[in-house]
């Protein structure tokens, strides 16, 4: 990303597009148009978008998690990939075989998450490891995000440790939104700030206010740059609050008012709007026009996905292997 101005504008537009899209997904879910579940990144857009904006599609790799609509968007995922997956269109990357946030385009450097938390950490390490073997690692970064809850998984730990042992240019963003589903931080870990784990892994550690886009741009963008420049693995812990339920089936009533009314209860998009305007990065009417564009884009993506065919079990290729057996004798 050339200039800071460009970086911030790009990040913000991804935040806006993500929010607009997710609001629509929520309505569709509540109207019964989406089955399964809808999982939003509301309140986490600044973290996710600044990460995604720092990455280069076609060069870097990025394993987004549950709340990374903004980061996906910034990394270059099309809205259609999202709406098609949520609506089960056969035209989508998952062809109706998997849904909602379980989507990706591994061939474009964005693997499709499995549900099991932490599992994408070693996977990104493996992608970087392969790039090194192929001699194309130079200047590349691999990034992934996890929640506070996912840090309790063995998969996270093994992946972090392995990435550090291999000294890979990996950036791991922990979005500490204070809850894992309903479970508050104090039932999840016993250190003061999860960033205290960085050193023990051999990662550089950074803490950031996840509701502050400028701070995220600086800290997350900076960590990506450091990793890209050979500074080794980077861990960033972003502090924020999940501004939605765990999924749209959940009203999140277990989140105490004190948290909602506290500093991290503020909406990073509102903060970012002010920051853009105050810093002279974007004018208010520009932002308004972006908003309109986003609304139209969402409208189109939903309309298109809705009119596309869903899978037909009778025409479906019911096989889990790419190899066709029997093989002929070799």
């Amino acid at each position: 990303m050339s200039s800071q101005r460009e970086f911030l504008r790009c990040s913000f537009r991804a935040m806006l597009r993500s929010r607009t899209l997710e609001n629509k997904l929520s309505s569709l879910y509540k109207a019964g148009k989406i089955v399964g579940g809808v999982y939003l990144g509301r309140g986490q857009e600044a973290v996710s978008a600044t990460l995604g904006t720092s990455l280069i599609q076609g060069k870097d790799c990025f394993a987004p998690l549950i709340r990374d609509q903004a980061g996906r968007t910034a990394f270059g995922e099309s809205m259609l990939d999202c709406t098609r997956t949520y609506l089960g269109s056969v035209e989508g990357p998952m062809k109706g075989r998997d849904g909602n946030i379980h989507r990706g385009r591994p061939e474009k450097g964005m693997p499709a998450m499995i549900s099991h938390l932490g599992a994408q950490v070693p996977l990104i390490a493996g992608m970087l490891f392969a790039k090194r073997m192929k001699g194309v690692l130079d200047g590349c970064v691999g990034a992934t995000t996890v929640g506070d809850g996912a840090t309790s998984t063995g998969a996270f730990h093994e992946g972090m440790n392995l990435a550090a042992v291999e000294n890979l240019p990996m950036v791991v963003v922990v979005a500490n939104n204070q809850f894992a589903y309903s479970t508050p931080n104090h039932r999840q870990f016993a250190c003061t700030d999860l960033v205290e784990r960085a050193k023990g892994y051999g990662f550089s550690g950074h803490s950031v206010d996840g509701t502050d886009m400028l701070a995220c741009a600086k800290v997350i963008g900076g960590a990506v740059r450091t990793a890209r420049d050979g500074g080794g693995p980077q861990m960033i812990v972003a502090h924020l609050l999940r501004l939605s339920g765990h999924g749209e089936h959940d009203d999140g009533s277990y989140v105490p008012d004190s948290a909602k009314g506290g500093h991290y209860g503020r909406d990073c998009i509102e903060v970012a709007m002010r920051q853009l305007a105050e810093g002279g990065y974007a004018a208010v009417n520009e932002i308004l026009s972006w908003q309109e564009e986003a609304a139209e884009e969402v409208q189109r993506a939903v309309a298109q996905a809705q009119q596309e065919p869903v899978p037909d079990p009778y025409r479906e290729d019911w096989t889990a292997l790419s190899t066709k057996f029997p093989l002929t004798s070799t």
Binding site: G36, S152, A155, P313, A320
Partner: protein
Amino acid sequence: MSVTYIDAIREAQETLLREDPRVFLYGQDIANFGGAFKATKGLSDAFPGRVIDSPISEDAMIGLAVGAAIEGMRPIVEMQFADFSSIAFNQIVNQAATHYYRTGMPIPITVRLPSGGTPGSGPFHSQSMEGIYAQYPGLVVVTPATVSDAYHMLIDSVKLDDPVLYCEHKFLYRWLKSKAINGDHLPIGQARIARPGKHATVVTYSAMVHEAVRAADRLQADGWEIEVVDLRSVKPLDLDTVLASVARTGRLLALGEAFPWGGVTAEVVAKVTEEGFHLLDAPPQRLNARDTPVPYHPKLWAAHRPTPESICDALRKLLSF
């Protein structure tokens, strides 16, 4: 008033907590929140300190439960979905399952596995793992199909001194209702005739019992009387009841919702042919899910698992021999 399958699970846990001070519940989001499926709703208030939220650490959750069992407790661990027990696989099959054989001390833990598919749940929230765990010596694997069994088998699971995988079917949670919980019930290890018949036997368990009964009802119109055997527990597997049914009907369809290679249906067919070959008037048949991950889209999902239609087709084939 009626009781759902999930109500029964909740009530069994309440009964257990009330009656046995050694029982505690451990799992993600099960305390104040009452669990992802509300199977523990209100229990943390009623039993302070005995319904405990765990970190997202399935492996350690089972490790903790085994340690607590060594100290004489009877933990019930809730996996948020059966699929996530893959993380706890090692502690289940290598720590819990081998403990009695190795040390002579049994490990009375019960692991609740919200199992099976529901529309839109996709590859990682739909799995049926009973046929995986049943392969391991030292584990008991139960698969209740009715509201009463959901209740009584959970109670009995906790009373057993050995580790039990309690596979509860998510599709039945709210859909399956009963007037009340029966007082009478069969012990773990004994199968049940869910529907009597004389022309063919369907051996199945969990949610598929209901699909089998539906299929049997349809075939009734054509004059076929299909017997449905509900295994209730897949390990131990009550071969006597199965053989007695096959002796009456001469025909066997083994039905399950899990992946098609191996698993419960293969074990049923292998056991029946080994011990009851002479009883069979036709080749025993199997019907399972398809050999792919469980798909997300409801249309794919519905075609992935056996349905009353596909069960009828399999039965017609079986009856035509």
